[in-house]
């Protein structure tokens, strides 16, 4: 597994949420797949040339409209994990844009197709702005409301849309000999462009950011992914080509009305195409669309449409969710994968014992001189949850170059303080200063860009990504060009491997994160934030729930990194670990810092003994590391 090139290994696994994690099989899969796809494309492309059967031309045209819709939907649903039940609205918007422009301004409908795309993109951006604060179920509800709202507008805004009367488009002017060719090939072109866009998204940092959002949106923000920007761009790219396809579709069926264009069944067919074919795959939505449109036509011909369509599509949607949740392509891939890997033992299950030899990664930049001035300063932080005052005027500072500990009883507000510093939560009052800059008020990704890295008490890796992908996912800044860089570039992969080597997890490079043990996940999470090359590393219970050998090893790593100039802030309950490693130690109780000092001072502080350590506290022996 480790033999294949790292880039191929990483992008290969991005093929599907459920795709097998290892690189080699999917690479080998590619050749027969490529042949099948090429043949299918050729067959569809040449069909109108060799056959004048209008029934099938019509069916292929509609299949391509659904396919474009589903490929677009795949960007937000498959990659970014946002389910939309209103995708069909963009087809309707595109059709209306073309219909209204032709009617009010004139010209050929073709001229207005790009306008349809721009309109759809703009509306999608607006939707994205609303969706910045709506996740999961709220977002689904939003998309339903969106679809019905545009339908209502199209029905009631008579002066613009002619209401239920609808808009009739001019009859095509080309010779009947060409049948539906212009529709056919323009849609085929749009589908090709959509697929290229989808492929591009999948293999770049843009797509990786979206997948990180799908896996864990808050975590993605803390490793530097500017989530709102990514989401809005994803919404726009999911709608532009769909809007253009809608324009062509409106011209093709030549009559546009609210009931037909914003029919919820259109959205159902699009989402079914995506689910059936396979979410987060490149070709799944296309495969699904051709199956669904065939089913659509068959239902209309054999059973008279209407209620039969509802029964078939409704029933199929329920059945797919229940019995084929991954979709056809990922399911087929995992079957083939299982068949190929019969009798082979996996890496998972191997144990980390003893302390392997490892070399510390070269620091990315010269370590800034350690001045001892505060790198992080927290002043009067307050956070309430309903009636609970979790943080109550906490003030402390972390000297540059130190390994500072934050200790205190359960519920004293340590993790909340972490969340306030990292930006996953906003304080009700107080200030956070980092490296002379005030950062409360900045979103988490900007704090990450400034050099603040954190781990979570319960590890939060991107579960469907491999270890290597997890480590290269963090972003140290944001600019437009970044979106276009490879998801895993060679240089990054090498750096990531160094870091994995450092934490002793290199062997697990291509294993999916969800397959790792808890302790292994902690190590990978450490490597992950080291990729940010942060100046301050905040660890939330690095020694919690892992075995003593590993604790010792983590302690050693912290020391090594500290020697390279990294500052640490550590929340931990393991007192030998803390007192042997950290200086200064800050004690938090009831949301306030009650003491701060060297380990010795803290152990003798009456207040601390009372609030946390207990009067009989005696440190047996500090961890030697």
């Amino acid at each position: 597994m480790t033999g294949s090139s790292s880039t191929a290994a990483a992008t290969g696994t991005l093929q599907g949420g459920g795709a097998p994690p290892s690189a080699a099989p999917s690479k080998a899969l590619r050749s027969p797949w490529t042949a099948v796809i090429a043949l299918a494309v050729l067959a569809v492309g040449l069909f109108p040339v060799f056959s004048d059967d209008l029934y099938y031309q019509n069916m292929f045209i509609l299949s391509m409209v659904f396919a474009i819709g589903a490929v677009g939907l795949n960007v937000i649903t498959g990659y970014a994990g946002y389910i939309s039940l209103g995708q069909g609205a963009f087809i309707g918007l595109g059709a209306y844009a073309v219909g209204i422009c032709v009617g009010d301004i004139g010209g050929s409908p073709w001229v207005w197709v790009p306008v349809a795309g721009v309109l759809a993109g703009a509306v999608a951006a607006l939707l994205g702005v609303v969706a910045m604060r709506a996740r999961g179920h709220s977002f689904v509800i939003l998309t339903i409301a969106f679809l019905f709202l545009v339908q209502l507008l199209a029905t009631n805004w008579d002066s613009l849309t002619n209401g239920t009367g609808g808009i009739t488009l001019p009859i095509p002017t080309w010779s009947v000999d060409y049948q539906y060719w212009p529709f056919y090939y323009s849609l085929m072109g749009l589908l090709a462009v959509s697929l290229v866009a989808s492929w591009w998204i999948r293999r770049t940092k843009f797509g990786m950011g979206l997948i990180a959002i799908r896996e864990d949106e808050d975590k993605a923000a803390t490793v530097g992914v500017s989530t709102p920007t990514y989401k809005i761009l994803a919404f726009v790219s999911s709608a532009v080509f769909v809007g253009m396809a809608g324009g062509v579709y409106g011209y093709y069926i030549s009559f546009i009305d609210p009931l037909g264009m914003f029919n919820i069944l259109l959205s159902v067919q699009i989402i079914l195409s995506l689910l059936l074919g396979g979410r987060a795959t490149l070709w799944g939505p296309v495969l699904g669309a051709f199956i669904i449109e065939w089913l659509n036509e068959t239902t209309n011909n054999e059973f008279g449409g209407g209620n039969a369509r509802l029964l078939i599509f409704g029933g199929l949607l329920a059945l797919v969710v229940l019995f084929l949740p991954q979709g056809i392509i990922p399911t087929a891939q995992s079957w083939i994968e299982r068949w190929r890997s019969r009798g082979k033992a996996g890496l998972a299950g191997e144990r980390l014992t003893g302390i392997d030899l490892y070399k510390r990664p070269a620091p990315r930049a010269e370590a800034p001189p350690v001045t001892g001035k505060p790198l992080l300063e927290v002043k009067g932080l307050e956070k309430r949850f309903g009636g609970v005052q979790a943080v109550d005027g906490a003030s402390f500072s972390v000297p540059e170059g130190s390994i500072t500990a934050l200790i205190g009883p359960n519920g004293s507000g340590k993790t909340t303080v972490f969340n306030l510093i990292g930006g996953t939560m906003a304080p009700q009052a107080g200030e956070v200063w980092f490296d002379g800059r005030r950062i409360d008020g900045k979103p988490p990704w900007q704090r990450a860009h400034l050099g603040l890295g954190r781990t979570f008490q319960i590890t939060r890796l991107f579960r469907e990504m491999t270890v290597l992908e997890n480590v290269v996912a963090p972003l140290r800044g944001f600019h437009v060009r970044l979106l276009n860089t490879d998801a895993v570039s060679g240089r990054e992969a090498r750096r990531a491997e160094e870091l994995l080597e450092f934490v002793g997890m290199r062997k697990y490079r291509d294993v999916r994160a969800s397959e790792l043990s808890y302790g292994q996940q902690k190590l990978v999470e450490l490597a992950q934030i080291l990729m940010l090359d942060p100046r301050l590393i905040m660890l939330d219970e690095p020694a919690g729930g892992i075995n003593p050998t590993l604790i010792e090893r983590i302690g050693e790593m912290i020391r090594e990194l500290n020697a390279d100039g990294k500052t640490f802030l550590i929340v931990e309950h393991n007192m030998p670990f803390v007192l042997g490693l950290c200086n200064p130690v800050i004690v938090l109780a009831r949301g306030t810092a009650i003491a701060s000092g060297t380990p010795d001072e803290i152990q003798r502080d009456a207040q601390v003994l009372d609030a946390y350590l207990g009067e009989d506290f005696r440190l047996e022996e500090p961890v030697k590391a």
Partner: protein
């Protein structure tokens, strides 16, 4: 002024019916984190069954609640165990898509059985009104609103005064904790779903008198109910009541002052505004996400 008062009172009465319907939806969401998109279809199904009963026996549609509630309870329990239960542990998106599929399927079945034409239940009092001063209050609206309040009150009593109610609320707040203290969360979820569907049954019987309906009406109903629970705060029962009353009044005001054709848009606007300004809704609380269980 009379016009305003009339709209306000009628809005509150219809809001009572909405409150009953939305409580079932928000209860199901609160306990099992499932947005039941088929809720609208359940209520239209109940309306059709009410219509058939009324047609065949002449039984008053509001009295039919006594039949509809247990019938829909059983239907909901069965449907939960057949379809929703297997995907309990799947990502939340799965349940939305599943119940959406069920809604379409039910719409198709209703179309086959009752046809895709508009139906309405017209008991003898459906054309009569109470006249109080200058106010005209249609009797159907008044009776419907009052019956809804009674059913809702009994639902509230079940939830606050019985062991089952406590188990349901415990499962909603903390499923693992409820499991630890001896609540069979899976069984409670099935009962909750059934109760939710039963309330849609009662609400559907009432709605059949108030509005004409056809199989495709369920989209408008589910949009309305979703608007209510988003406004009130998803999973909050008092929130659903407040949201329902707000929506009822807002719809009637829209009909009176803007135009009836825009009334259906009110819930969509609610959804957009709430999600922009206060995503957790009126009574919803933001949960601490940092202590989420792994």
């Amino acid at each position: 002024m009379t016009e305003f008062l009339q709209a306000l009172i009628l809005g509150l009465l219809i809001g009572g019916v909405y409150a009953l319907l939305a409580s079932g939806l928000t209860l199901i969401f609160g306990v099992m984190n499932v947005i039941n998109i088929a809720h609208g279809a359940f209520l239209i199904l109940a309306a059709f069954i009410t219509w058939s009963i009324w047609r065949e026996t002449g039984l008053d549609p509001l009295a039919a609640i006594i039949v509809l509630t247990p019938l829909m309870f059983a239907f909901g329990w069965l449907l939960y165990n057949l379809t929703v239960r297997p995907i309990r542990r799947a990502p939340p998106a799965a349940s939305v898509l599943l119940t959406f599929g069920l809604a379409l399927f039910l719409e198709g079945i209703m179309g086959v059985i009752w046809g895709n034409t508009s139906h309405s239940v017209r008991p003898s009092y459906s054309t009569e009104s109470f006249e109080i001063g200058e106010l005209f209050l249609p009797k159907a609206q008044v009776y419907g609103g009052l019956v809804a309040i009674v059913v809702l009150a009994s639902l509230y009593l079940v939830l606050t005064r019985t062991w089952l109610g406590r188990a349901i609320r415990a499962s909603a707040v903390n499923p693992q904790g409820a499991e630890l203290v001896g609540v069979n969360v899976a069984a409670v979820a099935a009962l909750t779903f059934a109760i939710g569907v039963a309330s849609a049954g009662a609400g559907g019987a009432i709605a059949s008198v108030l509005y004409p309906f056809l199989p495709g009406s369920h989209y408008q109903w589910i949009a309305r109910l979703l608007g209510i629970i988003v406004l009130g705060g998803m999973g909050s029962l008092p929130g659903a009541v407040i949201g329902a009353l707000c929506l009822g009044v807002a719809e009637l005001m829209t009909v009176t002052y803007i135009g009836p054709e825009w009334a259906t848009g009110v819930p969509y606007v609610f959804v957009f505004i709430v999600l922009l300004l206060r995503p957790q809704g009126i009574l919803g609380t933001r949960l601490r996400e940092d202590v989420a269980t792994a």
